[in-house]
C-alpha cells in the first residue's frame, strides 16, 4: 500500500484546516501571505478589501479562518470582526488580525472587537505559520466538540440497545405536542 498522500491533499505538516480567507489591500503583503499559505498546503480565498471579504464570508461554504488586515478600504478589519461576531451562527470563525508596528492600541481594539489573535507587520513567516496552526487547533477542537455534542444529544433521546426513542424523549415530544395543540386549537397529529 502506498504511503504517499494524494497530490491534492495538504501535506501532513500543513498548519491549515479548511479554507482560509485572506483580506489584504497591499499587493506585496497579499502576495507574501498567499504564497506562503499555498506553499504550506492551505487553500486560500484572497480578496483586496473589506467589502469583498464580507461578501466571501456570506457564502455557504465560507472559510472558517480569516486573516484580515486592519486598515483596508471599504470595511476595515475591526469592523469586519464586529460584523462576523454579530452575525455568527453555528460554527465559530477564527479571526487573525494583521496590525502595524507602533499601533499597540489597535491590538486592544481588535481583540475587543472579537479577533482571536493578531500578527504585527513586518511579521516573520515562521510566526505566521505558528499562529495559523494555533488557530487551526482551536477550529479542530471546536469541530470535535460539536460532534460530541450531537452524539450526546442522540444518546440522551434514544435507547442504547434498540436505537429507538427512549421514554424521556417520547414524554418530551408528547408534552410539546399537547402544548402545541392547546395553543392552536387543532387536534394532535
Amino acid at each position: 500500500m502506498s504511503q504517499t498522500p494524494p497530490p491534492n491533499e495538504a501535506p501532513v505538516s500543513s498548519p491549515c484546516r479548511g479554507n482560509i480567507l485572506l483580506a489584504e489591500d497591499d499587493p506585496i503583503y497579499r502576495w507574501l501571505l498567499q504564497s506562503q499559505l499555498v506553499k504550506w498546503g492551505c487553500r486560500v480565498v484572497a480578496v483586496k478589501n473589506g467589502l469583498e471579504a464580507w461578501e466571501a464570508l456570506q457564502a455557504a461554504d465560507a472559510p472558517q479562518m480569516a486573516i484580515l488586515d486592519w486598515i483596508m478600504p471599504g470595511l476595515d478589519g475591526v469592523e469586519l470582526c464586529r460584523r462576523i461576531r454579530a452575525t455568527e451562527q453555528g460554527a465559530y470563525r477564527y479571526v487573525l488580525l494583521l496590525t502595524a508596528k507602533h499601533h499597540k492600541e489597535d491590538v486592544v481594539a481588535g481583540l475587543d472587537a472579537g479577533a482571536d489573535d493578531y500578527l504585527t507587520k513586518p511579521f516573520n513567516v515562521d510566526e505566521l505559520r505558528a499562529r495559523v496552526r494555533a488557530g487551526s487547533r482551536i477550529l479542530e477542537l471546536q469541530a470535535a466538540l460539536i460532534k460530541t455534542q450531537g452524539a450526546l444529544q442522540f444518546e440522551a433521546a434514544h435507547d442504547r440497545l434498540t436505537g429507538l426513542w427512549n421514554r424521556g424523549a417520547i414524554v418530551d415530544l408528547l408534552q410539546r405536542e399537547a402544548l402545541r395543540s392547546m395553543r392552536s386549537g387543532q387536534p394532535w397529529e
Binding site: I28, Y29, L32, H102, N124
Partner: protein, 118 residues
Amino acid sequence: MVANHQVWQRAEALERLGGDEDLLRELCQIFLEESPKLLLTLRQAALAGDAEAVMRAAHSFKGELSYLGAEEATHAARVLENMGHEKDLSGADATLVSLERQVTELCLSMKSARGSRQ
C-alpha cells in the same frame, strides 16, 4: 550621508522570510514593480490635497518598507501617514521628496544586489 549607510536591511528581511532567497528575490521584484505606482498615488493625492488618500498610500508604503528593513524610508512614510491622519499636508511635499529619494536608492540597491547574485 555616512559611508556605511544602509538603505535596507537585506539580512533582516531574509530572516523574516525564513532564509528563503527565492522568496526575497520575488518580493524585491514585486516591490520594484509596485513602488513607482505607490509613489505616483502619493504624489497625486498630495497634489489634490486628499489627506485620506495620502494616509492610506503612506500606510501601505510604510508596511512594505518596514518589511525590507528600510528604516529611513519607513520613517518618511510614517511621517506622511501622520500628516494625512492629522489632515495637515503643509509639509507633505518635502517629506515626499525625501521618500522618493529613499525609495529610488532602495530600488537601485535591490537591482545591484540582484545583478551581483545572478
